[in-house]
Symmetry: C2
Subunit: 227 residues, 2 copies
DNA sequence: AAATGTGAAGTTGTTCACAGCT
DNA sequence: AGCTGTGAACAACTTCACATTT
């Protein structure tokens, strides 16, 4: 859900996605949860906890123990029966599979309220991502404080993303501009877009798209309230 | 997910959830997509378009036509074969089922960077939600501009939520405070929490929880980039 | 005893293929 | 002809039950 919500592009069923099927494809949802486990492991590590059971880790991540264990089998076997998992080893194993050792540079487009907050947000620095540049239609517009990163006009998008080797972008523009900006991102060679605009932009097959729509998250939540 | 993230609480399989099974339960994911369709319909309406085919609407929502049609069957039949759907009628039908006619009041806790941006964000006003109050540990802290809504200290949470009949909350505090604040929300009678903190707080069975985790969304996206 | 690992069973979600209106 | 509606087939995902290891 969001993450929410939010959701992914429709994927063809037994898609060409599995191309060569090298390392027994990890299910999509498992990949998502692995990130979650990793985050919990990091907290455990910083609390000097070295060993954890599937039950404890599952509770921290908000999933069931059997699901956690099933998820981990896609990476191999690291647990010690009767004991649990080595926190540090498991964290390294997940990191290796998710491929987030290398720090991924990200650009953000649309420096309004939400965009500014996202730039300021320290949440993903430690997780291997860094917003390295921001773009806006009107870079001169007055904003609250100092931005952490250089702010450029849209026209410089292709030049700068290619120079910095950026492959992912955060889209935080109003609905009316979203499709146009998405096109510009694709044109600049961006391969993954995290979209906060309240419409779903159309993008070509080869571009990954995740949508986070706050209104939909709330609406969805309200549906599941029990009266 | 939500894109966020984000995601939902683990639900027991053939759960007590279906209690009385009154109106042939709508699948969870369908509920989510209905919100999406609704948004697209509203755009069509504001463009004076009165009729739409499943194919066109599906493309706008980023899903496949068959899925859209299947989703709509849970609400009944409104299409005209050979023609398509009446935009206005379909929008009203979805709204009726999602139950977002009534304007839902929402509170926000944690008025930092992200929290301020969310309060300012106009995105969900038109969709039937309204942030009616904000809470923060330190309400005196200096913030960029004027907030749109009254800002209270945490201690007044129970009083104000019960007075305004608030059932949903947005949680935008740092990880370290998230569990404690979640407890306070539950104690104040909140039934649905949209969580932006980078940990998953534990909440009792009867409280609905949606998580939006920006770092996880990015990580997930990066996994699905093709190299 | 305490925990992991996993095949099999069960559940949910998606797509197909085509029947049925207009 | 064109488009919706839907049972049935298919695929993905989750949980169970229990064998297995420490």
């Amino acid at each position: 859900m969001p993450s929410g919500a939010c959701r992914h592009r429709p994927v063809p069923y037994l898609g060409a996605a599995l191309k060569k099927a090298t390392k027994t494809e990890i299910p999509r949802k498992t990949v998502y949860r692995l990130s979650l486990y990793l985050r919990c492991l990091q907290r455990l590590k910083s609390n000097q906890i070295t060993t954890v059971s599937s039950e404890a880790l599952a509770r921290a991540a908000g999933v069931k123990p059997t699901q956690l264990r099933k998820d981990l089998t896609y990476l191999g076997q690291f647990g010690t029966r009767g004991l649990g998992y080595d926190v540090d080893q498991l964290a390294r194993m997940i990191t290796a599979h998710l491929g987030t050792n290398r720090l991924q540079p990200v650009v953000l487009v649309g420096v309004g309220n939400l965009g500014s907050a996202l730039v300021q947000y320290q949440g993903f620095g430690p997780e291997g991502f860094e917003i390295v540049a921001a773009f806006d239609q009107d870079p001169e517009r007055q904003r609250g404080g100092e931005l952490r990163v250089p702010l450029y006009p849209m026209s410089r998008l292709p030049e700068i993303t290619s120079r910095l080797g950026v492959r992912m972008a955060i889209l935080a523009v109003p609905a009316a501009a979203a499709q146009e900006v998405a096109n510009a991102l694709v044109g600049a060679g961006i391969l993954g877009i995290l979209n906060f605009a309240p419409i779903v932009p159309a993008v070509p097959e080869h571009v990954a798209l995740s949508n986070v729509n706050l209104a939909i998250e709330l609406e969805n939540l309200s549906y599941f309230l029990q009266d």
